[in-house]
């Protein structure tokens, strides 16, 4: 180990955004533990509270503070670490390290950058230096040049010809990049790219779109030992970001010459860059020759390395952290075998498929086209002994409403339609390919259009042919064997053979066709593995050693998506740990390769499987656990509770009936009536006429949504009958099969409670109050603990309602309740009989191990036995704020205005002595980029004008210049607040669009208007702000709080004190 190294600062990756997700919690957690294993003191900074890595026992000192130069510097000043590990915190960590070095902070405090040297980071990240480095070692890169202005980029394109790829320097997940096929497109993309790059630099290069995209994960230590952990082949050829590509590991269509050619190149590259740790190299390989180009090198642990770790069992982040401390690969033990070392190359005896999870269901109008800018929020991974099986498992792990490689909406399409659809490079392409094969479109044509390698097309054809076989021949021993080998669900086989699922199951069980489980062991069974990490397949030998009668299964939460993020993985992990602590054996089933829950040492057994009833039942039958815990894996796990219970599985914790009473609207209404607890008045309408009718019985504004869509989709707030009419006309058609729900929208303050109950007592660790008024999804609101605006009587009432509802539902474990306080009265909005998004946040700020308590209750312990009383725990003396973080710039055409539908991808926490300090840190940590001065454009709906005026005055007092559009400006002027009025986009001439484009506006405050002509105007304005990276606030509440933060800061209130979570606990 490096001499004198005692204390190491680790920089996390901050909030989850598209392109930087849970994989860095996995990497960071592994890194912190690896460093501790080596006897080092670990200091961590990460603004994201929903992570395992920010748990107090992962690092010795945990700073949940903004990851920015000033805060990190302060932490360094306070902690005086000897070393800095920045290569495990994604691009954020890497950029921070560069900033710290450039600012002289590392030098000043004698902090050594561990692992990869600064020059290596620069060489990998700076395009010009990278090109030169590659030239030095004769590694080909596509012709390219760097530009800082648009005209030069266009001139270069003229020279080398289209298509051209634009990549902004130093951005995540290719933000702001794209492929241009002509001058116009290049102008747009180049303009945006220069703006989004922190150094205003773009790379313009020859496009190798259509070539095979191959990745290698490489490790190197200080002794120059180099190994390849894994190589991967993207099914989607070059042109689609690897994060948005369906990826298979290992490569399938490369022969050994090609495999070794790129392997050798990878070693040459990592040696040239002198990286000490892990790195990822991406290649474009000509499908028609052995010519290749190096596309990209990530000199750090990445999403791909998390995938490679899970795909092989080789813990890249852990090894990278140890290498960074000066150990060599052969000094590090291979944890999977316990005997061999980390200095070898894993070999697989199965096939891995990674499938991205996109958030388009949240953004109805968003551009679904995939390109160089990543759009997926998460991913799933599946393993099987054949490609077909891995692919089908991956598809049903996605939870996109399909359990198979088939989309309902494509079934009725004609051959011509499908042939056309093939051209769309979007999230549904593989489904379209399957449909094209069903319709008999030839391999050559599909290959020509999609660039999918023939090998993959032929494998998909195998699946399609099997459908035909099943349809024509009914069930035979041969075809059901094949179907199960391809991991086709019983339900799908049943559908194809016109049987019931039970009949199919009975048929195959009679033939003794049952799943077997194999181990992931890094070595294709060459050595005995010590880690029970399993996947299912239909082979002959089963390797599971069941954990016995003291085992419990924890269902995970599947892929990260908007609305179900890393918070639920945090809960699953803690549940597994709690089980272990309680003397039980924990078993996790999950399919998300990015997470801590799928690290093989989190649980006693890990099953990497889809979360469907059939897949989970296979594990249950194998392990015969005491029961299954469903309350920590979000809606994914909750949805499995009832069907599992129906099959005789013991669901630990809250009963299935209790869950149903909370989730079924009618039963929930009965429950509230019984308890005499009010909820906003509401009705169900089965026709448009009925909807208009019932609206008269209610008070506007109303919140309307279809009853059959989950998660706030197509939910809107309507303020007038006219708006309701428009909603019924344009958005949703009410019918007896698809009724719509109409509820009164209570304008007021939203309050959220997470509680733990054993059925006798209800313990409430804390109450959170939301900054944004009801109507903004709680996941998109800034939440504050403890509440700042509730009096004791109200708090007592919240505690009373929470207690009574929880006891009535006989909750055994965690429950989450959302309230609204409107005109002084408390209403219930919803009850979630499970662990919620806010559990990690609340656990961290209250220091209550909520998941552990809930898990132990599920096992039969009581709160009293664990030393807890019923009621609300006294509030801590500190204040914490949780702020949402969005990824709007990644998804073209996505509506950014906040509403009832959740849109944020991540969150940050600010914690401090005062409300203002906590909020300031949260706003900073969320990188809202509120300018310290400049011009603010205010353009708001009529109902918001009075409130906006107050805000505008406040901002002006702080020295901002206010401009407004006609309506808003007129109102302001009338009210004696003179502002400049600018034209809206549709009014033409010099308008807000031109001002924004010319950089004349620094902040936009805009609220939604409905049912008026210029509706799209607001949308365009908001999109433009996003595209050009100008902050845009769509809630006046957020704007008000931002104003307050800045005003207080102006008054000289010192917000700037970093403290570790461990310090707050001393209070």
């Amino acid at each position: 180990m490096i001499e004198g190294l005692k204390k190491v600062l680790v920089i996390g990756s901050g909030p989850i955004i598209i392109g930087q997700a849970a994989e860095f919690d996995y990497a960071g957690t592994q890194a912190c533990r690896a460093l501790k294993e080596e006897g080092l003191e670990v200091v961590l900074i990460n603004s994201n509270p929903a992570t395992i890595m920010t748990d107090e026992d992962i690092a010795d000192r945990v700073y949940v503070e903004p990851i920015s130069l000033d805060y990190v510097t302060e932490v360094i000043e306070k902690e005086r670490p000897d070393g800095l590990l920045a290569t495990l915190g994604g691009q954020v960590g890497l950029n921070m390290a560069v900033e710290l070095a450039n600012a002289g902070v590392l030098e000043k405090y004698h902090v050594q950058l561990l692992g990869t040297r600064l020059s290596a980071i620069e060489e990998a990240e700076d395009r010009e230096l990278f090109k030169k480095a590659m030239k030095d070692i004769n590694q080909p890169v596509p012709e390219s040049d760097i530009f800082e202005d648009v005209p030069s980029a266009m001139a270069f394109a003229e020279k080398i010809g289209y298509p051209i790829i634009v990549r902004p320097a130093f951005t995540l997940g290719g933000t702001g990049g794209g492929i241009a096929y002509n001058d116009d497109e290049l102008f747009m993309i180049a303009t945006r790219g220069i703006k989004l790059s922190p150094i205003n630099q773009i790379l313009v290069e020859r496009s190798v779109a259509g070539w095979k995209e191959i990745e290698y994960e490489v490790m190197r230590d200080k002794a120059d030992n180099c190994i390849i952990v894994c190589n991967m082949e993207n099914i989607d050829p070059v042109g689609i970001h690897t994060g948005d590509s369906i990826v298979v590991a290992p490569s399938q269509t490369l022969n050994d010459l090609q495999y070794q050619m790129l392997r050798t190149a990878s070693l040459a590259i990592i040696r040239r860059l002198k990286i000490e740790g892990g790195c990822n190299v991406q290649y474009a390989l000509d499908p028609n020759s052995n010519q290749y180009y190096v596309i990209e090198v990530n000199p750090r642990v990445s999403r791909s390395s998390a995938l490679a770790s899970k795909a092989t069992g080789y813990p890249i982040a852990k090894v990278a952290a140890k290498v960074a401390t000066g150990l060599t690969l052969d000094q590090i033990t291979n944890a999977v075998t316990g005997k061999t070392t980390a200095c070898f190359e894993p070999t697989l005896d199965y096939c891995v498929v990674k499938f991205p999870r996109w958030p388009f269901e949240k953004f109805a109008l968003a551009d679904r086209t995939l390109g160089t800018q990543m759009k997926a929020t998460g991913e799933v991974m599946a393993l099987d002994r054949c490609f077909e099986g891995a692919l089908l498992k991956a598809v049903r792990s996605l939870e996109i409403g399909v359990n198979y490689l088939s989309l309902k909406k494509l079934e009725s399409k004609s051959l011509i339609d499908i042939a056309e659809l093939l051209k769309n490079q979007d999230d549904e392409r593989i489904f379209v390919v399957a449909q094209a094969l069903r319709l008999g479109i030839g391999f050559d044509k599909i290959h020509y259009i999609t660039g999918y390698d023939m090998w993959f097309l032929k494998k998909i054809k195998n699946i399609v042919d099997l459908e035909d076989n099943l349809r024509r021949n009914n069930l035979t021993e041969d075809n059901i064997r094949l179907a199960k080998r391809y991991s086709m669900p019983d339900a799908v086989i049943a559908q194809l053979t016109s049987k019931t699922e039970e009949q199919v199951r009975a048929f195959r069980e009679k033939l003794d066709i049952r799943p077997t489980f194999k181990m992931v062991d890094t070595c294709a069974a060459e050595f005995e593995a010590a880690t029970p990490y399993y996947y299912s397949c239909y082979a002959t030998e089963d390797e599971v050693k069941p954990l016995g009668d003291k085992s419990v299964i924890v269902l995970g939460s599947g892929p990260i998506r908007i609305g179900q993020g890393i918070e639920f993985d945090y809960c699953s992990v803690h549940s597994a740990w709690a089980l272990r602590k309680a003397g039980m054996n924990s078993i996790i089933i999950n399919n998300n390769p990015e997470t801590v829950s799928t690290d093989f040492d989190t649980s006693d057994s890990l099953y990497f499987e889809p979360l469907t009833v059939e897949d989970v039942m296979a594990v249950v039958e194998k392990e015969k656990p005491v029961g299954v815990i469903c309350q920590f894996g979000g809606q994914t796990a909750i949805n499995l509770a009832a069907p599992l219970a129906k099959r005789g599985v013991t669901v630990l914790g809250t009963s299935v009936d209790g869950m149903d009473r909370a989730e079924d609207r009618e039963r929930f209404d009965e429950l509230l009536a019984k308890l005499n607890i009010p909820r906003p008045d509401g009705r169900i309408a089965t026709s448009d006429t009925e909807a208009m009718q019932v609206s008269k019985e209610l008070e506007f504004p109303l919140i309307v949504r279809p009853s059959y869509v989950l998660g706030g989709r197509a939910m809107e707030i309507v303020y007038t009958e006219k708006e309701l009419e428009r909603y019924l006309r344009e958005a949703v058609i009410a019918s007896p099969d698809h009724p719509i729900l109409i509820d009164e929208y209570m304008v007021g303050r939203e309050v959220e409670v997470d509680a733990i109950s054993d059925g006798k007592d209800v313990f409430i660790p804390g109450i959170m109050e939301q900054v944004e008024r009801a109507g903004v999804h709680s996941g998109d609101s800034i939440a504050v603990y403890p509440p700042q605006h509730l009096d004791k009587a109200m708090i007592d009432q919240i505690v009373d309602y929470t207690t009574r509802i929880t006891l009535e539902l006989q909750v055994k474990g965690a429950v989450n309740i959302q309230f609204v306080v409107s005109k002084g009265k408390l209403y219930i909005i919803e009850v979630n009989p499970r662990s919620s998004r806010t559990v990690p946040f609340l656990s961290k700020v209250t220091h209550v191990p909520m998941v552990e308590l809930a898990t132990r209750i599920a096992l039969g312990e009581t709160l009293k036995e664990m030393g807890y009383e019923g009621g609300l725990m006294p509030a801590k003396p500190h204040v914490a704020a949780k702020a949402p973080v969005f990824s709007f710039s990644k998804i073209g055409l996505a509506e950014i205005a906040l509403g009832p539908e959740m849109k944020s991808t991540g969150e940050v926490m600010g914690i401090g002595k005062t409300y203002s300090e906590a909020l300031y840190k949260a706003v900073n940590g969320a990188k809202m980029k509120i300018p310290a001065g400049g011009t603010i454009l205010v353009t708001v709906a009529d109902r918001d004008k009075a409130e906006a005026l107050q805000l505008a005055r406040g901002f002006q007092e702080l020295g901002y210049h206010i401009i407004a559009t006609a309506g808003t400006g007129k109102y302001f002027n009338e009210q004696g607040f003179p502002v400049d009025v600018v034209r809206k986009i549709h009014e033409g001439g010099t308008n807000i669009a031109t001002l924004i484009r010319n950089g004349k506006i620094d902040l936009v405050v805009n609220t939604l208007t409905f049912g008026k002509h210029p509706e799209r105007d607001g949308f365009n304005l908001r999109r433009m702000a996003v595209e050009l990276a100008i902050p845009c606030l769509t809630s006046l509440d957020t704007a008000r709080e931002v104003l307050r933060v800045f005003a207080n800061k102006g008054k000289g209130q010192g917000y700037h004190h970093v403290a570790a979570l461990q310090d707050y606990d001393q209070e």
Binding site: D256, L329, C343
Partner: protein, 352 residues
Amino acid sequence: MKGCLILANGQKFYGQMLMDTPAVGEVVFNTGMTGYQETFTDPSYAGQIITMTYPLIGNYGLFHEIEQADRPYAAGFIVSELCDMPSNWQNEGNLSTFIMTHHIPCLYGVDTRAITRAIRSQGVMKGVIVPETMAEEDIKDLMAQPLEKMLVRKVTPGSVRQVGQGRYHVAVMDFGAKANILKDLIRNDCRLTVFPAYTKAEDVLAVQPDGIFLSNGPGDPQDLPEIIEEVKKLIGKKPMFGICLGHQLLGLSVGAKSRKLTFGHRGANHPVKDVRTGRVYITSQNHGYVIDENTLPDDAIVTHINLHDKTLEGFAYPKYNFFCVQYHPEASPGPTDNLYLFEQFVKLMEGK
């Protein structure tokens, strides 16, 4: 046609057979994920039934340039999924065609991981691949057949030949040399005189080579006493380099002992440490026997050990001006990290 692999211990593994020809041989496993064609044509596998642990075999078809010999010498192949729809621009045909053309018994659609686990835990053993319809008696007879001993005789060429042009004249003792070894020597500016395995030392020395190379080959080195006698006569006369069987023969010739490994090293991912520098190299391996490090003469230098099981992977004998490695620097298949050893041989011949 249905068939199965029966191991000497009685374990059975069911699958499909490509042809109805039965096979008998020593069942081994190879963990490489690519390079099936190179493996199948590696003469060192003579007499063995090769189980590929990677389940999808045949994905990129065939490509004659990567073959290591003119035909496979293995007794049989066992794969999980035999791909009949290969895809690669270099592809020249289906793997199944190749297997059938050479009439090598092949069991596919079988749980290869189960076979691997059986061999890993109990060691390599004799096995037979038989069609389902084969009579018990016939299976018994097949299983009773002794494993072939004279494997080198089977794979070594019948006559002397000259290959390549180059500055250094290397005498190659061909015990079943992989084609790429010869290519790599030639790439390093060598011209080769390739001798059959049982050539007398005087005949080899008569061509006045600058150096002598001892190739890889199949079987137990202790089955080759006549060759060992000749190697003893060559030692010290010229700079020498040995790979795999060549390394073992050099070991036995200087008085060391060899022993059989439980399940051998066969794959492309084995870490080998150069004990002089501490550097670790990833190597391509295919061997069932090793030279016991403790039996080497005191003045021999251990240069390489296997990082997994600490067995000997290479030694040098400065007194006699030779060095040798147990693994395969020529790769094919596998990592090309160790090509520097060929350069080292050239330097040895240069007297550096």
